[in-house]
Symmetry: C2
Subunit: 135 residues, 2 copies
């Protein structure tokens, strides 16, 4: 797979406005985008720190996986996303190595990236996202 860097870290929060305040006022990061991703039932806020983004995720529905995650585990880090090249090929490769795919093929995620998730059951409990910038 050879990921180039950590594209982002996804963090489940109960209240996006409060969390933005913490990331801006305490950590000194700048929220550069707020975006609703309707099919994932989340509202997201983005920050950049070095090569990596922090993506805060607030559920917009009780059916959202973020709402379920918070109910089960509390607020906190929800997933880790690697930047890769050739996402389709990478998915085939990791599936051939026994990884269970949540997304069999790339789909569109926040910020227009091609994304796919790997199931935490086959990644040591870490919900893992793979991302590719296609310009």
């Amino acid at each position: 797979m050879n990921p180039t860097h950590i594209e982002h870290i996804g963090i489940a929060v109960k209240n996006l406005a409060e969390a933005i305040k913490y990331y801006e006022e305490v950590l000194g990061l700048k929220c550069y985008a707020i975006e609703e991703v309707a099919d994932q039932k989340v509202k997201t806020a983005f920050f950049k720190v070095g090569q990596t983004k922090i993506e805060l995720l607030e559920a917009t529905s009780e059916e959202s996986t973020i709402a379920k995650f918070i109910e089960k585990k509390g607020e906190g880090i929800h997933h880790m996303a690697f930047a890769v090249n050739g996402l389709e090929g990478v998915l085939e490769e990791v599936e051939s190595k026994g990884v269970r795919l949540i997304d069999k093929a790339p789909r569109k995620g926040a910020e227009g990236l091609d994304i796919a998730f790997l199931h935490p059951k086959s990644t040591g409990g870490v919900l893992t996202e793979l991302c590719e910038h296609k310009d």
Copy 2:
């Protein structure tokens, strides 16, 4: 605080050897160091991806916070660490902004870094580490 980048992501694993196999064979990363941190009762394995390290953490005792974390939440992402400059001043600054410190002063962590943890109760559920390279 103005962190420069994500220094590392700490991941709690049950079995370090199995986890290393996954990170090497599936993700294609290379384990460049294995280190035991006696006072934290963990054995760690390090990988580099872009600017960021992945630090796998296996408990060496049932008293380890990693063992307790896994018992409560299962394997997965345990903490996120920011690289900062002037760690002592940063700790004063964030405490003055209402953040609860786990470490009131920097202490030595893995790889010889100066480190300090912020309590997840005041960071939106994210166990947050601050790190400084002092050469």
